[in-house]
Structure formats: C-alpha cells, structure tokens
C-alpha cells in the first residue's frame, strides 16, 4: 500500500511494525526516507543495525538513525560510533515524553518546548530540506 501512494506533496509518515518484519516485506524503493530509531542499549542497537542493512539493501531511500532516550554523552557516543557512516540525530531522554506515555497523550500536548519535542522538530526540518 505504501508503495502505491500517488506522488503528491503529501508527506506520509509510516510507523512500521516493531522489529524488522514489515521492513523486510516492503517492496524495494517504497519510501524516500527510512528513520531507524534506537535506544542506546545493545539489543536496540542490534535491531537498528539490522534495520539499516535491510533498508540500504532494498533501496528504502536515505537512512537516518535517531538515537532516542539519550541520557548522557556516553549514550550519544555509543550510537554515533556504531552508525558512523550515517546521519545520527539525538533525541534526549525527556520527562515530558515519559509523562505523555503514561497518559496516552502526545508529547506535543504536554510540552511543546521540551528537549525531545524540539529535537524531533529539528529532525522534521532536516527531512524536508
């Protein structure tokens, strides 16, 4: 379905299944960008490495790694050094996101000025440059 979308000015943000299942089944060149979200833990990075590989092999546009829930410089460095060949955007660990998650709400409605929301806003600008 994603690959059959008419080419318009519309931006489609497709939240795929957790893991890499959907990504491996997606037709080649179905998207212009792939965002790989990783937490700074080995297990999450493992899945991220696998996702980057699949997205690259199957031509799923430019690949950007989003280091999420980054709590300190060590977390940031770990993701950047693992994905040294890719653009890495860091999103800080943020209490606003934790609170929004508890309540089932959008982080934007809890604090539009919070560090994570600002970082994702910058990501939005990067994608549309």
């Amino acid at each position: 379905m994603l690959s059959s979308v008419p080419h318009t000015d519309t931006i489609i943000v497709a939240d795929l299944e957790a893991g890499i299942g959907t990504l491996t089944r997606l037709p080649e060149q179905a998207v212009e960008h792939t965002l790989v979200i990783v937490e700074p833990t080995p297990r999450s990075i493992d899945v991220g490495l696998r996702a980057v590989q699949v997205a690259t092999d199957r031509g799923q546009g430019s690949v950007t790694v989003v280091a999420n829930k980054v709590a300190n410089d060590e977390d940031d460095a770990r993701v950047r050094s693992t994905f040294a060949d890719h653009t890495v955007v860091a999103v800080p660990a943020d209490r606003v996101v934790v609170r929004a998650d508890r309540e089932g709400a959008s982080p934007l409605d809890f604090g539009a000025e919070s560090p994570a929301v600002i970082a994702i806003g910058e990501l939005a600008q990067l994608l549309t440059q």
Binding site: E17, A18, G19, I20, P40, T41, P42, R43, D46, V47, R50, D75, D101, R102, E103, G104, A105
Partner: protein, 253 residues
C-alpha cells in the same frame, strides 16, 4: 511443574523478567527450560548466556511428509534428544532454546523455527519447568504459540500503550485460545497507584509488582543479566514472583 509464558508490548520488560524468573526458579532445584520464541532474541541476555547468535544446525530437520509441516526433526531425533544436544546451557543450569535466528539465512531460520515448534509441541511436559518469552505484541499469543503454558503472564508497564497491548492480549485469550490462567505482572512501578490502574484496566489477578530499578536499565546498557549484578529491588521482586507462582500455579504432574 511450572509452565509459564510471558507476553506484552515490546520494551515492557518481558525478557528481563522471564530470564531472571527462569534462573531464580532453577536455583530452587528445578530443571528449567527457557524457550525464547522471539526471532530477535532478548532472553539470552537476561539469562546471562553469551550467545545471541545460536543457530540450530540445518541437519536437525528433514523434509516433512506430503501435506504435513515443511520440516520435521530427522529420524531418530526426538524432542528430548534435541534439547539434550542443542539447547544452550546457561548459568544455574538453565537450558535455553532459541527460536530460529534472524541473522541467519532464511532457509536456516525456517528450519530452526520448525524444529523449535516441534520440540516445544512434543516435549514431555513433566520433564521440564518451562519459562517462555513471547515476542512483543499480540501476534504469536494470538496464534497459540504458548500452548506449552498453563500460565500466561502479561507484563505491563504503567503506560497507556503497554496497558492497551495487554488489554488486546487479554481479549484474545477470551475470544480465541487461552492457557488455564491469565495473570498480570506489573513492571517498572514507581507509584502505588500504578498497580491499581493496571488492575482496573485489565481485571486479571496481579501476581507481581516489580519496581522501577535503575540497575536493570544499567544492565540493559551493558547487555548483562540483571541477576549477575546481585540482588536489588528488581531481583527481590522477581524472587517474590517465583514464590507466588510456586504456591499458586505449580501444576501437579
């Protein structure tokens, strides 16, 4: 014998809880088989088994009969023999059976998955206490991948998404298939109100409340087993969970 499977949203802590549970159960002189049906395995880490890449050799299976499964265990190899030879040996004498392997070639993965399914289906239910880690979400639970279990434990964090996924899982157990007992383990609890909130949303017995413990987050970042950092709020709470399960859900064999 205790036969329990842990399910829940991805990231809710299933692997940490199930791996620690398996080892603490094994310390009580029980033979424990840990079965990980996630193709992106996490349970090895929490068991403290230094393998995340533990493929089953291709020759454990042969092509199945016409109209049956594509691959079956080779003649002369039964479930007990498979576990004996191919389940990884972990700390506290836990044996670990991994479902396929996403990093391997697809054909290897598929053979490993068939072998895993047959072993879990055919093993002697009285030979092992079984602790299972289902992949995140509802897919496998929905299709009856936890049929070895008498107890399905929904691991739930106090977040809307985690509660929502657990509620969907509970609804599946109402509509499609269910182990004898469907219970809830509340995880990463930092307010007493959270347990009540989870209980109100799910209306199933809460058999454990595990506090948020920074040591588990730290262990995650090192890919270490929480149990190998010694005791702490998390390990103590899982120990209590083992007590509860032993006293209430130990199937008489």
């Amino acid at each position: 014998m205790i036969r329990i499977a842990f399910a829940g949203k991805g990231g809710s802590g299933k692997s940490s809880v199930s791996g620690t549970f398996a080892r603490l159960l094994a310390r009580r002189d029980r033979p424990v088989l840990a079965v990980d049906s996630d193709p992106l395995p996490g349970m090895a880490y929490s068991l403290g088994i230094p393998v995340d890449d533990h493929p089953t050799p291709d020759d454990v299976v042969v092509e199945g009969p016409e109209g049956g499964p594509k691959w079956v265990l080779r003649p002369g190899l039964d479930a007990a023999g498979f576990i004996d030879q191919y389940a990884a040996a972990g700390p506290d004498d836990v044996r670990y059976l991994q479902f396929g392997n996403s990093w391997g070639h697809w054909s290897t993965l598929q053979r490993g998955q068939h072998a895993w399914s047959q072993v879990v289906r055919e093993m002697d239910p009285n030979a092992w206490n079984v602790v299972g880690d289902l992949p995140g979400g509802t897919r496998q639970a929905m299709f009856g991948w936890a049929k070895y279990a008498d107890v399905l434990a929904l691991v739930v964090e106090p977040t809307a998404k985690s509660i929502q996924v657990a509620r969907r899982l509970r609804n599946i157990t109402k509509a499609e298939w269910s182990p004898e007992h469907v219970v809830v383990v509340a995880n990463r609890i930092d307010h007493p109100d959270d347990v009540q909130r989870i209980h109100d949303a799910l209306e199933r017995p809460i058999i454990g409340a595990i506090p948020d413990d920074a040591a588990v987050t730290a262990a995650d970042k090192r890919a270490a087993a929480p149990l190998d950092d010694g005791s702490g709020p998390f390990v103590d709470a899982v120990e209590q969970l083992v007590d509860t399960v032993e006293s209430s859900y130990d199937a008489v064999s």
